[in-house]
Structure formats: C-alpha cells, structure tokens
Point group: C2
Chain length 348, copies 2
DNA sequence: TTGAAAGCGTTACCAA
DNA sequence: TTGGTAACGCTTTCAA
C-alpha cells in the first residue's frame, strides 16, 4: 500500500445513489449519451456537487479506449516539440485524456516503424500525433492506417495523403518575409535551405521563389544547408566573401541564421545596416544572439492543441462517419517577428 | 468502436493456459513475487514466446496504483525540462510506467498547491517528479507528504527535508570552474548570480567563493542577475566599462553568459584573448553563440532517469520500509565543457 | 508454493 | 428513456 491516506474519490455508484438513478444512467450522462433532460439535470447537479470525474483506468479496462494519446518525436525534445507538448497536453487533459510523450531511440527507418507499432499496441494508444520528420515517414503512416489508429500529422509534406494534419503555411510565410526584404530595397537575397529531405524547407524555398520571381532586377541565390548552426556559419562565410554578395540572407531556421550572424560578425558586417538576416521558428536562440534575430514564429502550442482537437473530433468522438473527405488540414496563422536583424538595403 | 483492426494482445489467461498453471501464478511471476524456480522458468518461457506485457489499465483498476508518474514543471518546457522528460520517460516506460508531463499554468503560489493536489488526485499519480523551482516550494512538498505520494525533487535547495532528490553538486562544479580560471592566471573574476530566490545559484556562488578564498591576490566581484539574457548583457556592460575590470566572467547560466558575450562584442573585446566567459547548463544557446561558450553540463537525461529509479526503488517497489533515513540525495556527475570562450588571462 | 473466487469502477449488451 | 447483468484483465484475499 503505497498510498495510505489517498482521499477517496466518488464513483458512479455514489452519484447514482444520491441522484436516485441507476449507475448506467449516470454513465450515460457523463458520456453525453441520450438521456431525458430532467434526469440529466438532476444527475449533473450531483456530479457538480461531488466534483465527480470518471477515472480512466477502469474506463479503459472495460471499454475499447485507453484515453491515451501518444506524441511521437525524434530526440531531442526540441523547442518545437516542447511547444507541441505544452499545447497538446493541456488540451488532452481538458478532454479527459493523457498525453504520452514518446521519443524514438532507434536510427534505422525500418526499426522506427516497428517501434511505433509496438508503442501503439503495448500502450494501447487511442491516437497518435506525429511530429516532423516522423510525419513524413510513409511506412509509419501506412502502419498506422493499417492498424486504424487515428493519427494527426504535424507539418507534413503536401504529398501525405492519410489523416488530418496541422501546420502553418510555410510557403506563404516565406513569401511574406521575402516580400518584406524586397520592399526594403534588397535585391541580392540569399536563401538557405535546410536538410534535403525535409519538405518544410522545400516549401519555404518555394515561397521565396514566389516572391522573387516577380521582381525583375532581383538577384536571388540559393544555398544548401542542413539546419545546423555550422552549415549556416559556413554558408555565411561563403556568401559574404563574394565581391557582390547578398545584402540579405533568409535562413530556413534560426540555428542557421545564428550561424550567418556569427560569420557576419567575423567579417565585420554590421547588422542591420550592412546586412539583413531572417530566421525561421522563433526558437530560444533567436532572442539569445546579437542582434536579436528577426524570424517567423510558429504558434507551436496552438498547433499541439489543434492536433488533439482534430484527433478527438475526427476520429475519437463520433464512431460513425469515416468518410475519406474528412482529412482536414488545419492551417495555423504564423507571425512574422521583426527584431533587429532586418532593415532597408544599404544604399550604394 | 474506433479501433476495428486492433491486434489482440495476449492476456494472463492465455499464458496460464499455455503454461499449465493458474492465472494467479502467472501474475506472481510477472510481479516478481515468490514462485518456485521451476514454475517461474516455465512461465517465463511462455511469456517470452508470446511477448506478453501486462496492460496497465486493468492493473490499475484492480490494484492500488495507476502506473502513472507525473513530471511537474513551470512553463515553458525549457531545454532542462526537455532533457528530464527524455530520461524519465525512457526509464518509466522500461518499468511499465507512463510519464505524464504536466505544466502548471497558474501564477499564484497558493493556487499551485491546489493545482498539484488536483493532479495527484484526479490522475491518481503514483509518484511525482518536481522540477525547479517547484522542487523548492514548501507548500507543495507538505501537501504531497500529507497525501503520502512518493516524490522526487530535482535540484532542490539543501534545506528541503522530505523525500529523495537528485542533482549535481553545484557548489563543487562552480568551484572547479573558478579554479580552472584561477589556474589560467585570472585574478579579477566576476560572478553573475541568478534569481535571488533560487538556491542553485546560491550554491554556485558558494563554490565560486570557496575557490577564490584561497587565493591571496584574487579580486572577486559578484553581480546580481536574474537568469535572463538581458541581465547578463547589462552586467557585462557595467563590468567591462570598469577601468580595471574583470578578465573573466562566470555566469550562473548560459543565457546570462550569452548576454555578457554580446556586451563584450559591442565593446570590442576579443574572446578568449582579452576576456574569458563561462556559462552554466550547456543549453542549446551555448553552441549557438560566438564564440561557442564554455560551460558546465548537467546530464539532464540521467537525472530524469535516476529520479524515476529513486521513486520506484524507494517508495513504489517494496511496500515495506518507510524509514526516515531513506531520503537519498543522488548526486550526478557534472561535466565541464571547455569550448572557445575561456583561455589564459591576458598578460599585461 | 499454488489456486479459486471475489472484486476494482467502468463500459457493453440486451431487455424492460 | 431506463436499468440489470455480464464482461474487461488484472489484483487481492483467503484457502488448500
């Protein structure tokens, strides 16, 4: 007995006795199943008075759900994942669910599918939230579809076909940033891509090109990075060493942008006077570099929250309709944050 | 029926039938209760063959534990908390437990206790991991003690009396860093404290003073910060503006150290040639600034892992001994990481 | 050392 | 619209 003094919670039976109805009726009220209005009111009153909340363990023992939602990610817990955890956890709790944060420790792509499968089966997860780049793994998607486990993908690539998803409009965000730079008079603008495979980076690149395409005298330049600080640093050194180099650099994430900043420092470029830099993500790093980095913020908590809602609404709540059309992709509004690394293009 | 095709898991009954024993016996084997060696072997073989793992829901419905461990923290999910989540989650899973990550959304100190209490009762948590600064909240500690919920505190202040805890030896780590600086010839060394209330910062300060005390010609200087980038920046400006200012600055965390770095950049001080800077934590920021910051790493994953072990060993495993002496404080080895912001003191 | 039977608090099925 | 009663898969109590 580890928990001697644990206070007794009231049960369905307690409520039923006090309200003068059967256990089953109380259960129906709690589960929002059809009950006469009068009875519902009476029961709800007792429920409120007792502060009753159903316990998940027996529910899931008897029923077919575990009230567990798994959030799958690759280590480490990045600031992005951290935000998702906050938002999803809060929303899940509100709905009587628990959020399980699961890190995939295996490197091999095939092993990942096995890992995810084990997880779903062992922990009996009711729903899955797939974070990037897991959200783009076709094998995991197929496995989850086969097991018929409701899944919500965070920021998946466009090609992903199954299930609901949530993300920002990367392409549009990138276009807006580029337009902002263009409006500031910048013409020689470099774009730094992230890891080759990552679709997000590709969409950001597309947005960059959307904006640049319409400006005759624009001199866009694209460099390949890998999302690391180091790759940003190296790209920065290369770019800024050019005789007629860019006056603005737009990196696909903050880490690379921080690398560019450092390269600029080393070469004695002042920001934003002689060079503008934009990042993406608004991670902690953005405010911990000098000058504070202009960037794009993804509302991560809202994304986490929304993903739980999609899971609950689309697959867990009404056990009825499973239409193929019901694959909503919810777009969350991004936010462009202008701090101190962007300004008008240097004249002359 | 949300989960049509969910594969059937094997149950105690299945194993029992195959092994030719009763359900209860299989249960005993699983729970590591006394069973004859022969029987145990036979049962284990079937268990292994079937890949059987007990489902937590019915266990907790029938028994007195929920197999849920709560990790309580204040928002946001900092890199420190993120590391704990990784380590604790992994270890919990290994032991058949689930980790619930819970963020406290309320600001008021009194409301926090209510929040934690609700959580424990509603979710029926078997154990609690308290992260700083929650680990120093006496009201929460008292409430948890009253409810007799096993609790493990992460990096609590020394005065904390109840329950096991885990942390690094902050005082010793700070002393070692200071000694390193001293050995490099630095004499004018400034120490930047964190938030007033935080005991960790006080212990680091004590370590700083331990080292400095034994050096006759040392010229230590202590400044008060609040763990923020901004406070580090301001302290840096003040310190470096002095005519005979410090040649080394040791900040109580990385964010403040990053602030010092920026101040140094602004004032044209080169690092590490004319100024050495040390941070604490080895957060993401440490590698995303220029030059890469020398710092102290806390093995956060290991701390998370250990906290779960302490919970399981000390309170959840053997329902027997509750001796007051059983309040282990496990010290995890820290790691001093010399990157590029520390070097010998400038000569002349 | 082992087993049979009675729960745990909920949901599910079928009848009233 | 309601209410019995049988599960759910495990733990627990008590006997053998």
């Amino acid at each position: 007995m580890a928990h001697a003094g644990r206070p007794k919670r009231s049960t369905l039976a307690d409520i039923a006795a006090q309200a003068g109805v059967s256990i089953k009726t109380v259960s129906r009220v709690i589960r929002r199943e059809p009950v006469s209005e009068a009875t519902r009111a009476r029961v709800m009153q007792v429920v409120a008075a007792q502060g009753y909340r159903p316990i998940t363990a027996p529910r899931s023992a008897a029923g077919d759900r575990s009230y567990l939602i798994g959030l799958l990610h690759l280590p480490p817990v990045s600031p992005f994942v951290a935000g998702l955890i906050m938002g999803a956890g809060k929303e899940a709790r509100k709905e009587g669910y628990h959020l399980l944060v699961e890190a995939c420790e295996v490197d091999d792509a095939a092993a990942r599918t096995t890992w995810a499968r084990q997880l779903v089966i062992q922990s009996n997860l009711d729903g899955i939230i797939l974070t990037p780049p897991l959200s783009d793994d076709p094998a995991i998607g197929a496995m989850l579809a086969e097991l018929a486990v409701p899944t919500c993908s965070i920021a998946p690539s466009g090609e992903q076909s199954s299930g609901p998803s949530v993300g920002i409009d990367d392409r549009r965000a990138a276009r807006e940033v580029t337009e902002l730079l263009l409006a500031g008079g910048h013409r020689a603008i470099a774009f730094l891509t992230g890891a080759e495979g990552r679709s997000t980076s590709m969409r950001r690149l597309a947005g960059f090109e959307d904006a640049v395409r319409h400006v005759e005298d624009a001199r866009p330049q694209v460099m390949v990075g890998d999302y690391s600080f180091r790759s940003g640093f190296e790209a920065g050194q290369t770019l800024l060493a050019q005789k007629n180099g860019p006056t603005a650099v737009f990196a696909s994430n903050d880490e690379m942008a921080a690398g560019v900043l450092v390269a600029a420092h080393k070469l004695g470029r002042s920001m934003p006077e002689s060079l503008s830099v934009f990042g993406f993500d608004d991670s902690l790093i953005a405010s911990a570099v000098w000058p504070p980095l202009s960037t794009v913020r993804q509302p991560m908590e809202e994304m986490g929250c929304t993903s739980v809602q999609l899971l609950l609404d689309g697959a867990l709540r009404p056990p009825a309709l499973h239409q193929a059309e019901l694959r909503p992709h919810r777009i969350i509004a991004h936010q462009i944050i202008e701090r101190e690394t962007n300004g008008p293009a240097p004249t002359g």
